[in-house]
Symmetry: C2
Subunit: 401 residues, 2 copies
Amino acid sequence: MRSDPSRLSFEIDARDGDARAGRLVTAHGVVETPAFIPLATRGSVRSLESADVAGLGYELVLGNTFHLFLAPGAGRIARLGGLHEFMAWDKAIITDSGGFQVFSLAHGTVADEIKGRRGRSGTEGRVLEISEKGVRFRSYVDGSERFMGPEESMSVQAALGSDIALVFDECTPFHADRDYTARSTERTHRWLGRCLDWHADNGPPRQAVFGIVQGGVHEDLRRESAETVTAAGVDGISIGGTLGKDKPEMYGVLDMTLPHLDRRTAKHLLGIGEPDDLVEGIARGVDVFDCAVPTRLARHGMALAPLPGKRHRFDVRRSALTEDQGPLVEGCPCPACSSYTRAYVHYLSREQELTAVRLLCLHNLAYLRSVVAGARHAIFQGAFEKYRKAILGGAAPWEVE
Amino acid sequence: MRSDPSRLSFEIDARDGDARAGRLVTAHGVVETPAFIPLATRGSVRSLESADVAGLGYELVLGNTFHLFLAPGAGRIARLGGLHEFMAWDKAIITDSGGFQVFSLAHGTVADEIKGRRGRSGTEGRVLEISEKGVRFRSYVDGSERFMGPEESMSVQAALGSDIALVFDECTPFHADRDYTARSTERTHRWLGRCLDWHADNGPPRQAVFGIVQGGVHEDLRRESAETVTAAGVDGISIGGTLGKDKPEMYGVLDMTLPHLDRRTAKHLLGIGEPDDLVEGIARGVDVFDCAVPTRLARHGMALAPLPGKRHRFDVRRSALTEDQGPLVEGCPCPACSSYTRAYVHYLSREQELTAVRLLCLHNLAYLRSVVAGARHAIFQGAFEKYRKAILGGAAPWEVE
């Protein structure tokens, strides 16, 4: 397999240092980059309709291969016309490979990971066997035994009909030692080959495939993985695996990875998307990001905001906001900030009204969209470094000149 | 107090038998009748924004005095500019009196009621004292002792700034005997006088007040209550209390009540809103209805549909719909049916995705809006009886010529 513009082309319109403004041209339209990708895990973005997501300016969403494989099933979605038709979304879709989720059954969730737990969250006994072939596990839907390996993942993604498929990999956990990480990364590379072989013979002609760089926090493994994935001739490259214990280490992993990737290739940072991470990733040459943060924060009553000392967020349920008549974030053009006060969202969120989740999802997604749109504008102006510093310093993305 | 067109006027544009097509002219716009009123219990209609509710064609929503009194509090909403401003809704609002909820603490919930239970649902010990003055109870929000009587209810509704306030009453439960119902109805009448007195001295000049007819299932009590409320000179009349054990008995209660009410007055049936009940109520002269059904059904994965043998609803989670590519209801012009399949809503609802609740709320509210809009049209055509039979027989409201 070689990268092929009939599946996907990536045009770089402007560069500013290592940051780039580009366009991913997919079978379902153009995605301007830098871009943030909202999660449509089970074919919907939490509390929103597809039209709402498009209305926020998004051109690409991420569907979850693992969850859609278990229910409603890839064959069913194919019979219903594919994932675009199923969810009434005519713009681009990227699907993850399911690797992250099947291995999370063994390694524990990201939350377990962060908290130093291992294999918790009721996932014990879910993984029956991990082998060169793939992973045998028990479905959380009906308890049945299921199997997913490179070919199965690609086959599911083919049935879903996504514009961009990701190769099946093991997301090496933070607690894995160097030896485990090295062996796992080698297996991920062998799986990369099998994914590309399967796709060359069976993949939808217009579906692009992104390879995934692993290697944990080890510079030599990251470099080797970057070179291996680049040499495989993929349509784009995702950076996965553990990115370290904190943000400086994450940026360090990007610094040890990106220089070894082809500058012309589209680059995707997996599972990262806080405002500071977006500008730091863009500064290093990342083009697209996906992350659960905006929608997950919404569920917990948190709004994204230009507050670098507070992780760019605040809790709308704080008592201080009980009678606050301002919008969630002053100047924010989102549907929630245009019509409603902090006092209203505060009250609805405290009362666990579903409308609060919707308003916060709209705001948080609009906020991240503003961050990447502002970055794109700044790159064209040759002013990205100033923009990055402004965002890190607490400016709202629409305030930066 | 006398009814006053500066607060509210009700213009009847067409009559067809006892059914009428009219316009309620409120301080926040005109409400075409017959009308269904969505519940914005805590200042939001479940999963929707105020703009969504307006987009469905609704001109009037119902806010809940009891819940808004306990949190965020009437004073707070007043300081935030009133309920319209708080929830960004510039059309009309009716507020219930809180009587139903405070007495539910003693009598049990509607669900308890239907199931023949008494004072269940963890409400034991919540009511501290019921007296001529009002009801002393414990707040579910913070456990504090609170009091609500006629004057307090009117004062809260004044602070909320609703266009139509309801008088404070006891909703007599189905399990109450005739003697209890008679004494309760007399007290409700005394409270009616106190509410109107308070409002004449202190009410917002443009807020209308609806009286409530009680009397249970007893013809003489209903007639007496209808006459008492009519004589009090209210701006409109709500029909409350138990309406019997089943639909025939409910229609019987309407038949024993409506003939004793002034034909020119706007009439509101409290807490009723299934499609068959709407056309049966309209046939008897009811103008507006409020009900939790459309939004509560949405939470349970149920869609309203022209299925009279199945209570005008179906369960979207049924296995038969797994690959059903039709809309929820063929021909339905709602946002959910315009864009999404039954298979999609089925899947999202099974997976408990919030988007499913939203799509079902949009559909169910749009469906009831179609039922009342169709009724209005039929009344103008002098064809309401045909319309009523068509709806009862399983026609979709937009199919009836």
